[in-house]
Amino acid sequence: MDTSQILVTLGGVGLAGFVVWYFFFGKRETKAATVNDSGIQEVAITVKGGYSPDIIEVVQGKPVRLKFYRDETSSCSEELVFSEFKLRRDLPAFETTIIDILPTNKGTFEFTCGMNMLRGKLVVR
């Protein structure tokens, strides 16, 4: 093994380790919904290569309004699937799409893009 091989091996393994840590063990952005004047729990979510915030906390039994603003044209995020609430919606680019739901059960429910690559969670407490 010459020097460049040692460097490439160490660099490669290190990079692979970083990829695993960064994508699988990173900390996620959590946000609790705010209750508006009409008693609706609201959260604004920006869709840009993912969902910000991607973990949303709401309270059971009260209506929830999720406002998805898609801030990109990448086709990956064009669809939103929220199968717990039987929703499959198109998210037009640079527009806000309002999704109203009523969480009747406690638990963690995932929402994803149409191809299940981008993920977010609704935590109902």
């Binding site: 994508f23 290569g49 993912g50 990448s74 086709s75 199968s83 039987k86 037009p92 299940n116 981008l118």
Partner: protein, 761 residues
């Protein structure tokens, strides 16, 4: 937006506000805009309501004003109906598709120039000529200049998206494309700018601009084909939404006025001319016609309608002119409910998808790790002169061939096409799980009344046993009494009297309905009882040999029997039968042919039940089952280890439908709000149960093919791209071939799902 000439109001969604001062700032920005009369910003709802003069200022000016203040603003549209929304979505998708095509064309044109210029080494004389004239480095600069537009225009979205997803600690297909093409490009740029770096290590300063450009062109080709195919998967729902009428001809003070559909209210009287689309749901007041309801129910024959009949929005009036009173409008119409149901089903997830979901959630980072390790292994394994390009090419090939999209598309596209296909045939599937379960059905339980039979009992026999009374009088006594009852058998007797031209005009006193037994009362001063054996026993009315013989005879013919007693003695025996639907036998046989056991369930006595079962070819019968016990029958079959489908009319069968693995509500007509059923059939045709099962089986087979293809593609493609076979066979995968394979993999999954559209069910 609401508008008149001098005044308009718009609601804007404001983003980026954090506190009350932000709200005040936005309000000032809006109020200060010329032409704005009033602006109110609500921080909590993040909305601004703006009144303005449309002649002076427009919505775009308002959003700009907010944006200039450092916030985001978007108009919220309230007034558009579903059809308009669908049209807007369609227009937006078309614009996106056109832009995508433009990017693709640029990439193809550039790649077509870059490719031959990069292949000069195949033609030594050309290479020699370039070497002698401008030099190889200059050619590389030309290639770099040609590749830049492909990267910065055609492929820009992938790099931007990859960066954005990286910030979110997620990775998707764009990550793979961006890292793959990006690595090839960066390597090439270094080789172009500083070839000596390579040459001093005895390596050729090779460039991969052709790889970068071709990969992007091919992936865009895949995207173009994918966008076209994806549009078709939701064709059925678009067709349903498109059925909605845009205007209605409403009678206002006796005059016909054509108004937008959104302005029609329940209670309005709507006029429909021949050939016109019926605007909304309602009840015919005047006139008669035949109506084509095939678009909602799948029933190909037009339905005759006259005053008092229900009509449904979206169906087509064929022959006559009529007026109807609107009963349901907007989201309450049958059409809107069907659209909602189909949309919900398409948004739900099939359990079979779970594995693909779990894999796709870790897929991209895993592929990135594999590609890095591929690089490391080949860098260490190959001789010094070739190791860097060799490692790079395989690194890029692994990233490019991996296709998470095919995995992601495999199930939902088939579900979308399958549920859409069902809706076209009047088969409404509640969710993907129901569709998945339906292919496992091993027993179908049919409720007799209303399912196998028409559910409308008819008096077939009226056997007079007493010579001292006129037949007409006996009918009149029975019909007069039953006129006060709401039991279906009672109305059969009243109908019978009418058909015999006997009026049920006797006055009735002391009417008493005895549940499950019959009715008793005083008719024209005489005590009259109509009911079964239990009623006779309850009132101590003797059943003599003649009556018993007549009853036994009727029972043997699968008829329900009722005794008519006047003044405490039986004078007649009535036989009532429910006729079997013409299609029931064919449907039962079709199910049996598919290896499904068919079981009948009824409240009737065993004899009647057996006779009906024999008519349609059913071997297993549960008779004398009380409504509340239907659930137990389903449970019993489930305990036998069977996957049970319960078919019922959905009204008194709701608990059994819910208990069954698959609850199928039949003959819903357009009353589709059947919560208990997992599948709702709009027509009263048992053959649709077979169609639903066939549809489920076809869809599941399609999903399995898609999943198999998506899995096998990645399982074989990634090791091949990594060069796993190279030591044994010398096989390597060019990143360009990898790009072509990747582009085609999602397209082929989509094409396979679309095949479902053409299957006959």
């Amino acid at each position: 937006m609401t508008t008149n000439h001098e005044h308009a109001t718009v609601t804007l969604e404001i983003t980026g506000m954090h506190c009350a001062s932000c709200a005040a700032f936005v309000e000032d920005a809006l109020s200060g805009t010329h032409g704005v009369k009033r602006a109110a910003v609500n921080l909590a709802s993040e909305k601004a309501t703006v009144e303005f003069a449309p002649s002076v200022v427009n919505v775009a000016n308002l959003t700009t004003a907010v944006e200039n203040a450092g916030y985001g603003a978007h108009e919220i549209k309230h007034d558009t109906n579903r059809a308009e929304q669908a049209e807007a979505t369609e227009a937006r998708k078309l614009a996106e598709y056109t832009a995508l095509k433009r990017r693709f064309i640029v990439a193809v044109v550039m790649a077509a120039v870059i490719m031959p210029l990069s292949m000069t080494m195949l033609f030594p004389s050309v290479e020699h000529f370039i070497h002698e004239t401008i030099g190889m480095q200059a050619l590389n600069f030309v290639l770099l200049a040609l590749t830049l537009p492909v990267l910065l225009y055609s492929g820009r979205e992938y790099y931007v998206s990859a960066y954005n997803t990286f910030l979110h600690r997620t990775a998707n297909m764009d990550t793979l494309i961006a890292v793959g093409t990006g690595a090839a490009f960066v390597y090439s740029v270094i080789a172009t700018l500083a070839p000596s770096l390579f040459e001093q290590h005895g390596m050729r300063a090779e460039v991969y601009y052709d790889t970068t450009a071709t990969i992007i062109a091919l992936i865009l080709l895949g995207k173009v084909l994918e966008a076209r195919a994806k549009g078709q998967t939701s064709a059925a729902i678009k067709k349903l939404i498109g059925l909605q009428a845009k205007t209605a001809r409403v009678l206002v003070h006796g005059e016909e006025q054509e108004i937008p559909i959104e302005q029609v209210h329940a209670g309005d009287v709507v006029v429909v001319r021949p050939g016109e689309k019926i605007a909304t749901d309602g009840e015919i007041l005047e006139g008669a016609s035949s109506v084509d309801e095939s678009m909602l129910t799948g029933e190909s024959l037009p339905v005759q309608k006259t005053s008092g009949n229900a009509v449904f929005g979206g169906t087509i009036n064929k022959t006559g002119r009529f007026t109807f009173r609107a009963t349901n409008v907007g989201a309450d119409t049958a059409l809107a409910q069907i659209v909602r149901l189909v949309e919900e089903a398409q948004g739900s997830k099939a359990p079979i998808q779970r594995l693909a979901d779990n894999i796709s959630s870790v897929f991209v980072p895993t592929v990135v790790v594999i590609s890095i390790l591929t690089f490391v292994v080949w860098f260490n394994a190959m001789p010094a002169e070739t190791r860097l390009p060799f490692a790079l090419v395989n690194f890029v090939a692994v990233l490019i061939i991996a296709c998470p999209c095919a995995l992601g598309l495999a199930t939902p596209t088939a579900i979308m096409v399958g549920t859409g296909k069902g809706a076209e045939h009047g088969i409404l599937i509640r969710n993907a799980e129901s569709l998945e379960k339906a292919h496992l059905i091993s027993v179908v339980v049919l409720d007799k009344t209303g399912t196998l039979t028409k559910g409308e009992p008819l008096v077939t026999d009226f056997v007079l046993l007493d010579d001292t009374i006129e037949r007409e009088d006996a009918v009149q006594y029975a019909a007069s009494l039953e006129h006060h009852s709401e039991h279906p058998l009672a109305s059969a007797i009243v109908d019978y009297a009418e058909a015999q031209n006997v009026d049920a005009v006797f006055t009735v006193h002391d009417f008493l309905a005895v549940e499950g037994k019959g009715a008793i009362g005083t008719v024209a001063g005489e005590s009259v009882a109509v009911g079964n054996t239990k009623l006779m026993e309850l009132y101590h009315i003797p059943i003599d040999a003649d009556a018993t013989a007549a009853a036994v005879q009727l029972l043997a013919e699968a008829k329900t029997t009722m005794f008519v007693a006047v003044k405490g003695a039986i004078v007649a025996v009535i036989g009532v039968a429910d006729t079997v639907r013409e299609t029931s036998r064919e449907a039962v046989q079709a199910m049996q042919k598919r290896g499904i056991e068919v079981v009948m369930l009824t409240g009737d006595n065993p004899k009647t039940a057996e006779a009906i079962a024999a008519q349609v070819g059913i071997k297993r019968v549960f008779a004398e089952v009380l409504p509340q016990d239907k659930t137990n029958v389903v449970k019993q079959l489930q305990a036998e280890g069977k996957t049970v489908a319960m078919v019922g009319d959905g009204i008194n069968d709701a608990p059994a439908l819910a208990q069954a693995d698959v609850g199928i509500a039949i003959g819903a007509g357009t009353d589709i709000a059947m919560e208990a059923a997992s599948i709702t059939l709009m027509r009263s045709d048992l053959r649709d149960v077979v169609r639903a099962i066939d549809l489920s089986r076809r869809t599941m087979a399609n999903i399995k093919q898609n999943l198999f293809f998506a899995f096998i593609y990645n399982v074989l493609g990634i090791p091949l791209a990594a060069g796993l076979l190279y030591p044994f066979t010398g096989w390597l995968l060019s990143p360009m071939i990898a790009a072509a394979a990747m582009a085609m993999s999602s397209v082929s999954v989509l094409t396979n799902a679309l095949r479902l559209k053409t299957v006959r069910i």
